[in-house]
Subunit: 230 residues, 4 copies
Amino acid sequence: MPPAKVPRWIRRPEERPQELLDAAIEVFSTNGYRATRLEQVAEAAGVTKGSIYYYFDSKEELLTQALQSRIGAIFGGIEGGGGGRRAEMPAADRLRAVLRSAWKHWCKPETARMHRLIMGELSIELPQLFDVAMRAGPMRVWQFVGEILRDGQKRGELGTHFDPHAAARFIVSGLMHQALLQTDLQERGLDDTPPDRIFETALEVLLHGILLAPAKRPTKKPPAAGRRRG
Amino acid sequence: MPPAKVPRWIRRPEERPQELLDAAIEVFSTNGYRATRLEQVAEAAGVTKGSIYYYFDSKEELLTQALQSRIGAIFGGIEGGGGGRRAEMPAADRLRAVLRSAWKHWCKPETARMHRLIMGELSIELPQLFDVAMRAGPMRVWQFVGEILRDGQKRGELGTHFDPHAAARFIVSGLMHQALLQTDLQERGLDDTPPDRIFETALEVLLHGILLAPAKRPTKKPPAAGRRRG
Amino acid sequence: MPPAKVPRWIRRPEERPQELLDAAIEVFSTNGYRATRLEQVAEAAGVTKGSIYYYFDSKEELLTQALQSRIGAIFGGIEGGGGGRRAEMPAADRLRAVLRSAWKHWCKPETARMHRLIMGELSIELPQLFDVAMRAGPMRVWQFVGEILRDGQKRGELGTHFDPHAAARFIVSGLMHQALLQTDLQERGLDDTPPDRIFETALEVLLHGILLAPAKRPTKKPPAAGRRRG
Amino acid sequence: MPPAKVPRWIRRPEERPQELLDAAIEVFSTNGYRATRLEQVAEAAGVTKGSIYYYFDSKEELLTQALQSRIGAIFGGIEGGGGGRRAEMPAADRLRAVLRSAWKHWCKPETARMHRLIMGELSIELPQLFDVAMRAGPMRVWQFVGEILRDGQKRGELGTHFDPHAAARFIVSGLMHQALLQTDLQERGLDDTPPDRIFETALEVLLHGILLAPAKRPTKKPPAAGRRRG
DNA sequence: TATGAATGAGATTTCATTCAT
DNA sequence: TATGAATGAAATCTCATTCAT
């Protein structure tokens, strides 16, 4: 009986690159880009250090491609949150649907970590790629949200007292940042607020504001944007 | 990864070290912690690499102390935003005062960069210190804001349809994150929205919500879909 | 450093390997042995890196065989320079014929480059093979030339005031080295002396010396340079 | 009694750089540039690998500076060979003096090895520096020799049947190349011709040529000044 | 036979840290 | 106190070589 020849390694030219990219994202996101040794990435991907260089020219190139391979996935699909017939839905409902979908996504630990990587080291190490990530990510979301808001204003569902674009930025940031913090804080037991509470409250505030809603109200200094009622 | 040291508040001599700490913050914030060579810090402080080790035990210790020496300054003074007799002011006014003060602060480039450092590498490299920074920073602000909100609710100035604590987190995050992005994006010419517009819109949305105001409005927290009017 | 292997004259298959050997000589000569990656050789030969190992055991072995496959060609054919009935020709004419043939050969860029490789890295990396190359190359030429000289002396055509062997070495080196430099210098535009001038002058000096000649002298084929008296 | 504190290393900021350069020349020349590990250079200089990088930016830079620090020394001093009142000496005597001085220098093993490095890898790796070395070395020598020759022609001491510049090149190359080979061959026992024999024969041939002189000619080796005719 | 994915030893380079001065 | 020369561990990267296919 011949000894079962177990190959020391196997060829997987199709899967390897993506596996390496996945491992890279995972490890870079978790440990930081500079703090990560290529060996850790290799190990996470189940290959040896040298193999990385068969597919990628350098650590930086690995980071670049790893992020690019995810940029679409990161924020993509968020627009789909409203379903097929979203144009017919009331703006508030569309908003809720889109933001909930985004929130869910941003709260996933790996998304949050990657987000941290992008906002942190990437903006320093690879500003160009950071730009791409920004445009493909937060900026796209807030543009999308901004359109829903403007749409709602046009249809008379939303007030015209606010700048829809600036409002979208505020909203998106509020949720993104909270999602990011959530991960860190909850992993460390510094916070046990249920994520849903944050989201629902944010939406409530967003829709109705915080002021008591009665007949009349003492509004101080109405800002730049349009006023409503008398 | 270092074995999560408990931050030591020991500071050795009194005179020069501060220059080193200032230089360290500046350089670490700008280039990233890992990416910074101690030589760069030394140069920025006008001393030589070796001297750093006269005052600090290690690069990590330098980072730790540098951040600690700033943590008070970073978020301190924000509470003072409302002036002396703030308890007597309407909640909305106090809110505006406090948030404006914070916003101004967060928008300063060096604050934003330091923020990036904290949210990015610090949370990985020195989680313990990150916790301290969180508690002394954003968490303190949102607690403070939360109190203003609850206060307003009690006094009948604000509605009770939202959780004041969760709302405070959303608000603070929205502004902090925008301030952070602002710096990066504007430095790269990716964005030219005037900071004030963001702030004013955020406040407007915060106070009044985005919905077209009807006659009267539901006072209780609507957990599910947003419904408007009665 | 390798343990000075005795060159093996084994050559495995017959067809493709020669292409590899040719490519190897070309690339090693141009870029240097150590500086050349096997991949470059493979590419030049139109195969892939792995294939080299089907035919050769190692980089060193490739170099060895590549050089061996050329050593004959390098200096071979030089003796033929004088034609068939050279023994009957005057020594001076035979010398001229042989040296001209050698000079032509040494001035070819690829020969010069290979020469550089041999005199440079080969003497360090594979001293044994260097010895072989020396014996098959310059030493053989200078022995051949030495014989012509001694022959001439015996026949009374040449003076006996010089050691024919030592003289042959000097002559051969003078031409080889100039040929080698020529290539490098002319490729870089550092020198534009026509090769022929060098050769003819060398021969003139060799035959007649540089001193002002006494009465008259039987000069054969006076080269480009100036003639003296009648 | 305190244990005699023997420092683990000592500071020698003045000597270090030159020591490193010397070690570099030595090791690079002996083993080849590519084949040498920086560790070997460090060891030869009595420091550690890292120290090299305190003084030099890279391996290439080390090679560059090492060679530059020698280029003057390599071929410098050769012109001085003829002593102070050389202009008054017969051309043949000056020639002999200069060439003997050069020959002595080129025959030193370390010079020969360095020469091999320059003609070999340097011409490939650092062509620019190779040019400098050529100009400062062989080209300068052959220009100098060429001037002596032309001078001798003008003064009627030497014949005008040869191009002095081209002749100088041939002569210089003949001696340089033989010196280079000598080292290699003799170290390996492939050659036991006494260096002096080569030199004296070369000079004899150079002065008188190899042809049988018409009338009579000195048969014995003329050790000192060149005398012409009988 | 040929390929090219994968390896692994080793080379260059970096840099926090030490220590003689 | 301050310097900066020197260290040494480790990181990135290279590439000859192996081996599954």
